[in-house]
């Protein structure tokens, strides 16, 4: 069996889970914490990017590095903190009305783009319109906006979003940075010069992009929440993980995600640990096998056969040996940071004998001659497709690769989407996770883990499941313990 080697083949189940659970978190968010100690401003933080952003247009970006830069240069209505709670950015507050169908945002006063132009509700509406405009190629942002009926701007600081039905995950879509309407209007949206030299209202202003080399950002001194402590944020494009580690050792970058081999070589070395701190986090997405349950094959319509497949896979062993511990077998379809682990749900262990017994019971008997299992003359033999953006992964609705359909789960999902009470939602989603565990349409493989080393000159940073940069206020409040220069 082959497993996609890198995070490129990202499976969105957990992201979906993040979206559906977003309103579990409090909607009267805390103020951004301000340090009482005298702040130390200045310095340069160098963060490596494995791949170059495709574009710096805030809404057409579908790759991670583009999104990362967009979140620093641009500003969104809401964002998520280190623990994935929804926190305010441009929207000082918001409220749901009409049973969850209407969401009203109240923008902060006096916010300006980096060119000095005021940011108003018209910019928010414009950004929404660009996402739903099919000529914009903004497929990756479309997810949260498909249920939107209309966006209204009663005044310059109020944005009212009307959904076609009560939509509990509504806030997630508004993690999208707001485009400057006055600059994009009159330009070709896809080839505009602002796609490579963006102007936003975020904590950092764009300085330069040397293709294939680096993107330089500098503190926005007029940021509404106060200027970032850092003077500059230097995003160095370093494709090789080996080179990234060497650059960390040479003091050229402040952060390096480590490979399992690098981690084993350095994470226990005292001289390395004197210079660098180590962090680790579980990514939000996980890898899985989706069994085609729609009758297109004679095997996987039977839940017992699917359960046998899961039992026959040594997932813990895979994580331990192949991944060298860089991962975790999922208990449920929900990331532990999103839905607290369910004590009654344990991952199925590796049990080939139980798997064989289940297959025997389902009528798939071992044919000693060929070594294959057969039933009514059909051999138990199938092709496993590996995700690579391929058309063969026939889409049903959304990302239902398994063609899985269960009226009970559908009903719970409908309820969950409309249920605003966090406790009731947790109960609903636990029921979904348990039923999926019973029916096994998916064999969950693992959440990949990231382990990284970072320079000791960085004080107080904790990774979120989306990394050390993609969190708010995150890098905005990042301080260097020994600022360089003046």
């Amino acid at each position: 069996m082959r497993i996609p080697p890198r995070g490129r083949a990202k499976f969105p189940l957990a992201l979906f889970a993040l979206a559906v659970l977003s309103s579990c978190t409090a909607s009267s968010p805390p103020e951004i914490p301000r340090s009482t100690a005298p702040p130390e401003y200045g310095g340069r933080f160098v963060f490596p990017l494995r791949t170059e952003p495709a574009t710096l247009n805030f809404v057409t970006a579908s790759d991670q590095p583009s999104d990362l830069v967009a979140r620093l240069v641009g500003d969104s209505l809401v964002d998520r903190d280190v623990d994935l709670n929804v926190v305010p950015r441009l929207a000082a507050s918001w409220e749901f009305a009409d049973g969850g169908r209407t969401l009203t945002f109240h923008l902060r006063p006096g916010v300006r783009f980096h060119d000095g132009h005021p940011l108003t509700s018209a910019d928010v509406k414009y950004t929404y319109e660009r996402v739903i405009d099919k000529t914009s190629h903004a497929l990756a942002r479309l997810d949260g906006f498909l249920p939107v009926e209309r966006v209204e701007t009663p005044d310059e600081r109020t944005v009212r979003v009307v959904y076609r039905f009560p939509y509990a995950p509504a806030l997630s879509g508004w993690e999208m940075p707001i485009l400057p309407r006055h600059l994009y209007e009159g330009e070709d949206f896809l080839t505009s010069r602002y796609n490579r030299a963006p102007i936003g209202s975020g904590p950092f202003r764009f300085i330069s992009w040397e293709p294939g080399r680096r993107i330089l950002l500098a503190a926005n001194l007029d940021y509404w929440a106060g200027r970032p402590y850092l003077d500059t944020l230097d995003l160095e494009i370093i494709p090789s993980q080996e080179t990234t580690l060497q650059a960390l050792l040479a003091g050229e970058v402040d952060y390096a995600a480590l490979t399992p081999v690098q981690w084993e070589a350095h994470s226990k070395d005292p001289s390395f640990l004197r210079r660098f701190a180590t962090v680790q986090y579980l990514s939000l997405f996980f890898y899985y096998i989706a069994w085609r349950t729609d009758g297109t094959n004679p095997f996987f319509t039977d839940p017992d056969v699917r359960r046998a497949m899961t039992l026959a896979l040594d997932r813990e062993g895979y994580v331990r040996t192949v991944l060298r511990g860089f991962g975790q077998v999922p208990d449920s379809i929900f990331h532990p940071a999103i839905l607290p682990p369910d004590p009654e749900l344990r991952p199925l262990g590796y049990d080939p004998r139980a798997a064989a017994a289940l297959l025997d019971r389902a009528g798939w008997r071992l044919d000693p001659g060929s070594g294959l299992r057969r039933k009514d003359g059909t051999a138990f033999r199938f092709t496993l497709l590996i995700y690579g953006g391929a058309e063969e992964h026939v889409q049903y609705s959304g990302r239902n690769y398994a063609g899985f359909h269960d009226p009970q789960i559908d009903a719970w999902l409908q309820d969950g989407r409309r249920t605003v009470d966090p406790v009731a939602r947790t109960v609903l989603y636990r029921s979904i996770a348990r039923r999926l565990d019973d029916l096994q349409p998916y064999t969950y493989l693992f959440f990949p883990a990231t382990r990284a080393a970072l320079s000791r000159r960085i004080a107080d940073i904790r990774p979120s499941p989306r990394g050390i940069i993609v969190q708010y206020p995150g890098v905005t409040r990042l301080r260097l313990s020994r600022p360089e220069g003046g």
Binding site: R8, K10, F11, P12, L15, T51, E52, A54, T55, S62, D63, K134, T135, H137, L139, A140, R141, L142, D143, L146, L190, T191, N195, R196, P211, G212, R213, R214, E236, I237, I238, P239, S240, E242, T243, Q246, A247, L249, A250, E252, F285, G388, G389, A390, E391, E392, H393, G398, R399
Partner: protein, 327 residues
């Protein structure tokens, strides 16, 4: 001569067309859907996907798409990158100078070291220095370039701190300082590319020089009182033909080899662009790059033909039949 070159250039056109058809076919056989890549894993409306499909003409046949790509190419239009919306020409133009610079430097380094080395080996065959030098070059040849790159980085950038670890830049107050900065950045990747070339070219030149040094004309020339240096000058001219052949085989190899080196040393060249574009299913850029490298390989062969004509009067006579033109 002009007529010969024109004939030769024209004969490469079918090859070029064949290469583009093949590339186009392979890219379209891949079971991938750019729309899935673009959506980044989220849901999208069927309407939006439909619109993109028609923009990309995915519903048209492969042949129709190839024809429209070909016609646009005849107008000098390579299309636009699917990844970032820039023109393919400008994307490639941004990466090409770095790869050309790197490859040119490494060819110079390879020949600059190997040819004198081969000559030395040929003039004192079997000596300890000859054997030892050869062993060293063979060992260097055996080191895979990704490993060599790491070792070079570890020694010269991290431990000794003499050279930059990765990346390119040309900064400084004066043009001399800028050139020096650029040279420092190119030193390690150039050396890394040259390591595996040295052994081949040195071996080749040693053999070529050796067969020539044994020739009687050299003995006659020396007997007539020609200095050793002047005599070697004649040898070098005679040995040029095999070297030119070698150049033709080494040039495409250097382009291919720079994928790894560009990756490890974070150089924004053609090799890295190729990799990124394939991963992003950026068909127009992949096609443009394939076309470019096909043109370069064919142009390299043409160049070699021309060099033959220049360095070797015998070939010139044979091909052109213009005996009167010689000397």
């Amino acid at each position: 001569m002009i007529a010969f070159l024109a004939r030769r250039a024209l004969s490469t056109v079918p090859t070029l067309v064949g290469i583009t058809i093949l590339t186009f076919a392979i890219l379209n056989l891949l079971p991938t859907d750019p729309i899935q890549v673009w959506s980044g894993g989220g849901s999208y409306s069927a309407e939006a996907a439909e619109h993109l499909r028609s923009e990309l003409r995915l519903e048209q046949g492969v042949a129709a798409r190839y024809a429209s790509w070909g016609f646009a190419l005849l107008r000098g239009d390579l299309g636009r990158s699917l990844r970032d919306g820039r023109t393919v020409a400008s994307v490639i133009a941004g990466a090409l100078p770095w790869s050309l610079l790197l490859n040119l430097c490494s060819v110079l380094l390879i020949y600059g070291v190997s040819v004198p080395f081969g000559l030395f080996g040929a003039s004192s065959p079997g000596s300890v220095a000859d054997r030892l030098g050869h062993l060293i070059l063979l060992l260097l040849y055996a080191v895979p370039s990704f490993a060599a790159a790491l070792i070079l980085q570890q020694w010269f950038a991290v431990r000794l701190g003499w050279l930059p670890l990765h990346g390119v830049s040309a900064q400084g107050a004066s043009s001399v300082e800028r050139a020096w900065d650029l040279a420092r950045h190119l030193a390690l990747p150039t050396a890394c590319l040259a390591l595996s070339g040295w052994a081949i070219v040195a071996r080749y030149s040693r053999a070529a020089f050796r067969s020539l040094l044994n020739r009687e004309f050299l003995a006659v020339a020396r007997a007539k009182g020609l200095s050793r240096l002047r005599a070697y000058g004649h040898v070098t001219a005679n040995a040029a033909v095999p070297f030119v052949t070698l150049l033709a085989t080494i040039l495409p190899g250097l382009v291919g080899g720079s994928v790894i080196v560009e990756q490890v040393f974070s150089l924004p060249g053609v090799g890295r662009l190729y990799l990124t574009s394939v991963e992003a299913r950026d068909y127009p850029v992949v096609l443009g790059l394939t076309l470019l490298s096909a043109v370069l390989v064919l142009a390299g062969q043409l160049l070699v033909d021309v060099l033959y004509l220049i360095v070797d009067p015998r070939i010139r006579e044979g091909l052109l039949g213009d005996r009167g033109d010689v000397h």
